[in-house]
Symmetry: D2
Subunit: 260 residues, 4 copies
């Protein structure tokens, strides 16, 4: 792009048409392209090229939608109870905490994999790469992303499910092999159970799909937005936010209230 140029290649419209990534919304998308393919179109600027590509992308996206009662869904519910007229704000509030602690490990794992194997057609000596990575993280005293889980143990059941779809569709490649080798190497040197977790599995699949690691967090955030709408709907029907904040306020400040 030339300096000073302001240009977008995503969509244009005239009074009779809306065109998104080259497809006419009215004649080529509505009723023909489903929501998963539409999400794919936004990321890749093209529709999936095969049923396999469609299937692995959808499998990854559905894992990200709903994670139950989390700090994220509680932020949404707290916000909804103060501003029920601004549903967009309640969704946004729940997305804002999808940072380094909860979703950041997905970025980190994908970055680790993509930097270790810049070209998936020439992955190199995967066991050696895994050994070097594990040694390097241990030397820097950093947590290796994508392995181990505090709750889902001894194994994260989602990893097996996603990797099976990856095998079925041809997306179990060098990144999944490296991620698996990293888990095994980490188990070997630490003596602890550190199998690939769902984050590591998603990072491997996203990398095999050529999704840049910086975009992974965006996909997680967009999928979670749908999950948060489910929590808003439940909060409308069956609220918990008021009960919770009054309880917490009482418990957290009781030590300061003067005794009569």
């Amino acid at each position: 792009m030339k300096r000073g140029e302001v240009r977008s290649d995503i969509a244009w419209a005239d009074p009779t048409r809306v065109v998104i990534h080259g497809l006419d919304l009215c004649t080529e998308i509505v009723g023909k392209v489903d929501f998963g393919d539409m999400a794919f179109l936004q990321i890749f600027a093209r529709l999936p090229a095969s049923e396999s590509e469609r299937r692995i992308f959808n499998a990854m996206m559905v894992i990200l939608v709903e994670h139950g009662i989390t700090p994220s869904s509680l932020a949404t519910r707290m916000t909804y109870c103060g501003a029920p007229e601004a549903v967009q704000a309640a969704v946004a509030a729940g997305l804002l905490g999808l940072g380094s602690v909860f979703v950041g490990s997905l970025d980190n794992a994908a970055q680790m994999l993509q930097e270790a194997i810049p070209d998936k057609a020439a992955p190199g000596d995967i066991p050696a790469i895994a050994r070097d990575l594990v040694a390097s993280y241990r030397q820097k005293k950093q947590i290796i992303p994508g392995i181990g889980h505090p709750f889902h143990k001894p194994v994260d059941p989602r990893t097996g499910a996603l990797f099976q779809v990856a095998r079925d569709t041809g997306y179990f490649g060098p990144y999944a092999e490296l991620m698996t080798a990293i888990g095994a190497e980490a188990e070997r040197v630490t003596g602890r159970g550190l199998p690939v977790n769902v984050t590591g599995a998603m990072a491997a699949v996203a990398s095999q799909m050529d999704i840049p690691w910086k975009v992974c967090r965006g996909l997680a955030v967009a999928a979670r937005a749908i999950g948060l709408v489910g929590h808003i709907l439940e909060e409308m029907r069956n609220p918990m936010a008021d009960e919770l904040y009054l309880r917490i306020e009482h418990e957290a400040t009781a030590h300061m209230i003067p005794k009569p």
Copy 2:
């Protein structure tokens, strides 16, 4: 729910399972349920019961994803340029403006339709309802939601596309008839072209699917989150935010700068 109860019926997990709306994520969702059905599951607590239901839901959702360069996508791009490490914040910023001006007309239209026809099995005299509604809005000097469009004229092409899918799938029912009758009546009494716009069409379809009007904004917000990820991806590769803010700053404040 009993007073003081804190309860969610969406999802639960144990170390070996994650269950969402009664479906096992690993054995019944990943690789089997696509992203559109997953969104449906979050709203209805069940999967689509038919291919028709799936198709109309997906048709509605894809329309909401991408609206090009809008205040919303610009807020996302401006936020990304200041906090590129916090992609979740950039998505959230773009969602925050999906309020009364841009997405609120969807809520308003759905509310109007759902209050006018509380029971779609007994819609009543639709032309009479339309006459009363138009007269009532005109008397209150309020804008009738769901009809007319400043840019897509004489007709909004998205309405025809969505209503065609609605007809094909059996979701062109009393709400679509009422919305169409409202447009016709408004045209009759004002003498202006006021056909059903995309917002009116979506409101009619959502109502026919029994989606409560208060949830409509949530669906729009969640779908747009995906669109905004596309804008972040483009801003990563081909940024416009820096160029824009410097230009705007210059133009907006030039009148205050002392002449040399």
Copy 3:
């Protein structure tokens, strides 16, 4: 402003100066104007004209800063625990719920007062206005904003504190009289204790200061941002978010977990 013009009158800069509302930041603001006056400057485009004006403005602002453990501060804490690197997102999440339920009554009360007395120099018959307003709200079955409090009863102690400053500074005028008369009239017709609450008192003071009602929520939001930073600081040192979400998750989903 001419159509198509893009103009801001707030601030400009050249390499050697920054000028905000006509004041040179380096020579006329830093070290000379305090934070309260700076907030005043942003709203009124001038510094306070008198010590009285300064004092009443500061009195109103400090009430808005800290409200303890609320849905708002909990949303901030939940967001901080997921994205501790993005403090701006944690503050923003806490602001997002300052909507119709918690802060909206301030807007509503100020709007009610400002529409009832468009010109404070000619307030008219205040008792009659109060009677008409109370009758009108009761007829519409709407809650009258600014009176009564579920927790601070029989009287809200903040009202007396703020109204005393208003009396001391000459800002107890027609709006405060009207707000007080509304409370008395509502008590008379309902037989319940409905004295002016802090929201009503702030609305009366803001109106007397000629602050447009639409801006009142903005002031509340900005003041609360400071309070939320205090909650983030405490969450850094003494976190509660993790403990809370795990507890809530357990309680809310226990009914779904299969018994062994």
Copy 4:
């Protein structure tokens, strides 16, 4: 805190009192404590101990309030134009971009200073520390935070203004000396003009006040919230968002529109 404890020490209330950091809101704060001192109270859990402490804190805070037309204020204006009823969302949107690019350098500079001088009573050999820091950043090819400015050159006028207040109040100490020495050393080794900028000056002052570097971004965010309310007020009276987005949409997508 014991594991499992949920405790806050900020505020408590009973029906007749609200107590914040040990001060009674109604009898000790309203009308007595100004907005700057209230912000100080939220950060330090005490009021300023001296006029000097008050003055340097206020001087730092006022610098952060208003930065004109920036990506942040544009995100606020774009959000306001879509959701004018949700002013809290417009403020939040503007805060969300206060991340690594614009405000992060304040955190970074404060972290650099506080880690280099853990105990300001025993600062060590400041010129040597500066030499080591500059060498270390250059070796890592990282930008040294707090020095140089693309627009305010050859010197940032705000640095002199803030440092003068720091000298007047006794807060020009080891951190300001180190920041100045870093700028001088960087100029020496690069041959370029790299004096301390406003960010570096604020980081030095905040460090001298014992404000933890992680809190610095929070202060910046809270102060900017006030500035953004000023932009919302101007956007209410004199909007630019609609004009801007239509212009930008036209320019950015013109290359895709078919020629007739």
